[in-house]
């Protein structure tokens, strides 16, 4: 079928209407057909219906209009201005996508907060379509149109993308670059049953453990039951194509960010996932996950917040009653001058040091002044103080002290201590008890922590 078979002209009403077929035609084809038609003998008494400004920009003139908006769905490859009156005009801008996308990706449109239907016959892949950006002489949302690609099919989920284009006053042909590729972290499986809540408002949490809470505008609460990866999949699920449940007033399929002033994360609007870690978009607080260390968030101020990495020092192979000590050391020599007392102390339950108490000093534990053992129940890092010290301490100014990681009598087959990892350091571990040969070994605490397996060899000589 040719274009003249699919479109009908009404010379009285001066309308052009698509009335047959499903073939789509370029606007240039429409123009060329009308130019051909209007030089016929029978049409010389009619004013021409269309003019061309450029090969991509056309105008219906002399009172000609489209019979209905659906007609325009069968045109592509150029824009059309419909001059209905001096100030009454419609502008159908032409938008088309380009770039490397997954072939089964389905592009969908957003204009002025509402979805715009794809042209007739569109199923997937790149799209070329006319969208009305000026209606009755007034711009529709400043002539802005966005194209989205958010495919999350089962077994074939892709990274998302979207792009906003602004048409010129005359419509024009507007390219929309899109890029999608398979998402190696999301198989598109059904996560609809996940009990993860997403809230919008003002939220505070000390994610990086620096003692000061940070502000966020979105809270993704996993209730302690889900990993960061599961949360990532769920957040993609609620922003996939076709999701109309609203997020902060916007349909999920069109959600882009917590705040219009924040940068967009197009591949995944709440945050991306890479290397086993969730990288949150600005203002997104992912909380109550079962693997909290696998988060890197950006608070509302734009500062990156990385949760502290908690590691453990484990001494295994011990028996109940064994005396166990693990302390920082150089080689096998314990660093007993790790800290010095700031001023003299007298029966003090708070010990102030001259040195900073780094994040890798446990928040409770043991301090030793030489051989004197004291426990502490708290730590005030800004004030460089061990608090809740027992028994009370009496010492001179600059008295040396240190904080062993483990310093106690074993009650079972292993002993351990958890603390925040800051940097690698060496330790020496000792296990002693009359009846076994003294055990000593060294280890290095890394991001994986450290472990020492004690060897208890019977002392056949001691009596």
């Amino acid at each position: 079928m040719a274009i003249q078979d699919d479109f009908t002209l009404n010379y009285t009403a001066k309308t052009i209407t698509h009335t047959s077929g499903s073939t789509r035609y370029t606007v240039n084809a429409l123009y060329s057909w009308l130019m051909d038609l209007f030089d016929d003998s029978g049409q010389m008494d009619d004013a021409i219906s269309i003019s061309a400004q450029t090969p991509a920009e056309y105008t219906l003139v002399n009172g000609w209009t489209f019979g209905d908006d659906a007609t325009v769905g069968y045109l592509y490859g150029g824009s059309i201005v419909v001059e209905k009156a001096t100030t009454d005009r419609d502008v159908w801008a032409n938008f088309y996508t380009l770039g490397t996308i997954e072939p089964d990706g389905v592009v969908f449109w957003l204009q002025n907060g509402s979805a715009v239907s794809a042209h007739p016959g569109y199923t997937q892949g790149h799209i070329d379509q006319l969208i009305k950006v000026v209606s009755g002489g007034s711009d529709v949302d400043s002539r802005k149109v966005s194209a989205f690609l958010r495919n999350r099919a089962s077994g074939n989920a892709d990274l998302y993308d979207h792009f906003e284009a602004t048409a010129t006053a005359t419509g024009g042909r507007n390219p929309i670059p899109l890029a999608t590729s398979p998402d190696s972290n999301d198989d598109g499986g059904d996560v609809s049953a996940y009990s993860i809540t997403v809230g919008f408002g003002s939220y505070n949490e000390d994610v990086d453990g620096d003692g000061t809470v940070e502000g966020y505008e979105v809270e993704v609460d996993c209730g302690g039951a889900y990993t960061c990866l599961q949360a990532y999949k769920y957040l993609r699920y609620i922003t996939r194509r076709g999701e109309t449940t609203t997020l902060n007033g916007t349909q999920g399929q069109f959600y882009t960010r917590a705040n219009a002033a924040y940068p967009e994360v197009k591949q995944a609007p709440f945050g991306t996932f890479a290397g086993g870690k969730f990288f949150g978009a600005r203002g997104v607080l992912l909380t109550n996950v079962s693997d909290a260390n696998n988060r890197q968030l950006i608070d509302s101020s734009g500062a990156t917040r990385i949760p502290p990495v908690t590691v453990s020092m484990v001494v295994s192979g011990v028996a109940s009653g064994d005396r166990v000590l693990v302390a920082r050391a150089t080689g096998t020599v314990i660093d007993k001058s790790q800290f010095t007392a700031a001023g003299s102390h007298s029966s003090a339950t708070t010990v102030t040091t001259n040195e900073a108490l780094a994040a890798d000093i446990p928040s409770s534990g043991v301090i030793r002044f030489g051989d004197a053992r004291h426990t502490y129940s708290g730590i005030d890092r800004p004030s460089k103080q061990f608090t809740g010290v027992s028994p009370a301490v009496t010492c001179a100014n600059n008295a040396p002290l240190y904080s062993p990681l483990v310093d106690d009598t074993a009650a079972g087959t292993s002993m351990s201590k958890s603390f925040v990892y800051v940097s690698d350091f060496d330790v020496v571990a000792r296990v002693r008890k009359k009846g076994i040969l003294p055990f000593e070994n060294t280890a290095t605490v890394t991001t994986a922590g450290a472990s020492v397996s004690a060897i208890r060899t019977t002392d056949t000589i001691v009596t």
Binding site: S32, D39, D40, S41, M44, D45, I48, T54
Partner: protein, 87 residues
């Protein structure tokens, strides 16, 4: 009435401007000048609308439209058709 410089193959149409249904001429241009004779003047002068179009085959031209006053001595219109690189 003479139409000068009409591209061969064009369609020309001349009608009374005040009453376009009064078509004075409608035909295919052979090339060169087109002389239309025996026009029954309804007024002196009489304003005419002249249209020349060529959008069907070969080199295509943008629709051309102009007006001219026809007097007893006749009238001449110079037709400046422009190429249509789009169609």
């Amino acid at each position: 009435m003479t139409l000068q410089n009409v591209v061969a193959g064009s369609r020309y149409w001349v009608a009374q401007s005040s009453d376009p249904s009064n078509v004075i001429a409608n035909g295919d241009a052979p090339g060169g000048d087109i002389v239309i004779s025996g026009i029954g003047a309804l007024a002196n002068p009489m304003l005419l609308t002249i249209r020349v179009r060529k959008g069907t085959s070969g080199t295509k031209y943008r629709p051309f439209e102009t007006n001219a006053y026809l007097v007893k001595a006749g009238a001449t219109a110079y037709i400046s058709q422009q190429l249509d690189p789009v169609a």
